[in-house]
């Protein structure tokens, strides 16, 4: 079997005095869509940020395409081909839609063109001159996803892309993720919305207290609903 695209081993992360991740283990193969599931505060977002290199301090091993990244700064990690879409979306108020979209520099050849991205999200094209933060929540989410497709990054880290959005927009984002998978993007998705995650992902890792405690393939989900409800229930 080929080497995984992303291989995380014994990952620990700290914010100041707080120890958030206690040895996270998981891996993603090229072309997969994988989710991190779990309740609030179990370390899903911190795991994404640790892969991207934007937590205070981290140890362990995060290998991307075989290269160790755990001691690299985030700008170097991005240049290897990893792109991050934060939970709060991070749309810049002082930039218009088009400037937001073209802000991240190309890091590898083979990214989507602006035209292709507008094809995926036609609303953005109509509002290309608007201030980024004047868009609706759903449009901002599409902009946040759209802008990391241009760069040629092949691993996308998406933090709760459906949070707070209307069902019809959630559906649209699901379609987009399936199209991105078909184009060969590898996606690591953090989700609270398990029903949404089940429609797009190949595999799921379940997190609790800063560790990965279980792993399910899409085929195993149907038979494991009770177990999942226990993991994710409040």
């Amino acid at each position: 079997m080929a080497e995984p695209l992303l291989q995380v081993h014994g990952l620990q992360a700290f914010y100041g005095e707080s120890h958030i991740l206690h040895g996270v283990e998981f891996e993603i193969r090229k072309g997969e869509v994988v989710t991190l599931l779990g309740r609030n505060g179990v370390g899903k977002t911190t795991t994404l940020k640790s892969v991207m290199g934007i937590v205070g301090h981290r140890t362990g091993s995060v290998k991307f395409e075989g290269q160790e990244t755990v001691s690299l700064p985030s700008n170097r990690i991005a240049r290897l081909g990893i792109a991050f879409c934060p939970e709060e979306r991070g749309i810049f108020a002082s930039l218009n839609v088009e400037e937001n979209l073209t802000l991240p520099p190309a890091v590898k050849p083979g990214g989507m063109t602006v035209g292709e991205i507008f094809g995926l999200f036609p609303n953005l094209q109509e509002r290309r001159r608007s201030q980024g933060t004047k868009l609706s929540g759903g449009e901002q989410q599409m902009l946040a996803i759209g802008r990391i497709l241009r760069t040629g990054a092949n691993l996308l880290l998406l933090d709760e892309p459906t949070e707070g959005l209307a069902p019809v927009i959630v559906q649209r984002i699901g379609e987009v993720l399936r199209q991105l998978k078909a184009r060969g993007f590898t996606i690591l998705l953090v989700e609270q919305n398990f029903r949404f995650a089940a429609t797009v992902a190949d595999r799921h890792y379940v997190m609790e207290d800063g560790r990965v405690i279980d792993h399910l393939t899409a085929a195993e989900v149907a038979g494991s609903i009770d177990k999942l409800n226990e993991y994710l229930g409040v």
Partner: protein, 293 residues
């Protein structure tokens, strides 16, 4: 009309010109302060000292290397910007995670040291610097010295060029985005720490450029920056930190208002900017063009 107001047109236009010249310096200095504060979160109190260093480098290279004013306009900003890079790398970057106050105190310390060294070496009486553009134009209603006209134009070009670079170019969009969210911009693959260093160097270079322009008008004096920087901080407070164009407009506008006050009520001319600052702080605490952070 002038007779009705009891003032001569010469006095009015003369003070207007002085106001424009002062405004040109306020604009260039407040612009650099605003850009530095936006990205670095540091109130660069050393800005006035760096302006003074620009003037001194111009005087120094003329005196010891025969570099004329026009060469100094390039050499001095570059030299002082390199000095800024060293300050940023060795000291200032250690304070980014702390409150503004620490950066203010550190750079205030720089002022005391730099000014002290220059006063020790050169005394406080100042060095003369010859006018590179003697002569002037008779405009009919007033006499315009060539060099003063040049300062206003040069300052406008530099200010508008900076505005264009920040608001209309790709590099500027990185700067604006990093001012809002440096962590995310860095996670897109941009070397934000290097950008921070270069931004500080740019702001400092702008101050030194203003210092070179000032040398033929005000002479070269170790305390020339301290005299100016307090007014420039008032200009920044009035204009607010949010807008580049706001800094430029406020700088020139306040210079002109100060000049006009000298004509109509000279007693208030040295306080008018601070009165405006107090009023603006009461009505719009974030400044005329600022956005609340």
């Amino acid at each position: 009309m002038f007779e009705l107001l009891g003032i001569s047109p010469q006095a009015l236009f003369g003070q207007l010109l002085i106001g424009l010249i002062n405004g040109a310096f306020y604009a260039m200095l407040s612009l650099g302060l605003a850009v530095i504060f936006g990205l670095l979160n540091v109130i660069n109190f050393a800005h006035g000292a760096q302006y003074m260093m620009g003037a001194f480098v111009a005087w120094f290279v003329l005196e010891y290397a025969g570099v004329p004013f026009w060469g100094a306009l390039i050499v001095a900003p570059v030299a002082v910007a390199i000095f800024g890079v060293i300050l940023e790398q060795v000291f200032i970057k250690r304070l980014y995670h702390l409150d503004h106050l620490y950066g203010l105190l550190l750079t205030f310390g720089f002022v005391l040291i730099i000014e002290g060294l220059f006063r020790y070496k050169f005394g406080s009486s100042g060095q003369p610097y010859d006018n590179p553009l003697p002569g002037g134009q008779n405009l009919g209603f007033m006499f315009l010295p060539n060099y003063r006209g040049f300062v206003v134009v040069a300052s406008l070009v530099v200010c508008l060029g900076t505005w264009f670079m920040i608001e209309k170019t790709k590099l500027g969009s990185y700067l604006r985005a990093a001012t809002e969210n440096p962590t995310l911009v860095r996670a897109f693959g941009i070397n934000v720490p290097r950008m921070v260093t270069l931004t500080y160097a740019f702001g400092v270079g702008l101050a030194a450029f203003a210092g070179v322009l000032a040398a033929p008008i005000y002479q070269v004096n170790p305390t020339m920056g301290s005299n100016l920087i307090i007014i420039v901080f008032a200009v920044v407070v009035i204009g607010g930190m949010g807008s580049i164009m706001g800094s430029i407009v406020t700088g020139f506008g306040l210079g002109v208002i100060e000049g006009l006050t000298k004509v109509f009520y000279p007693e208030a001319s040295s306080t008018v900017i601070f009165v405006i600052m107090a009023i603006v702080l009461l009505i719009r605490p974030a400044g005329l063009f600022g956005t609340a952070k």
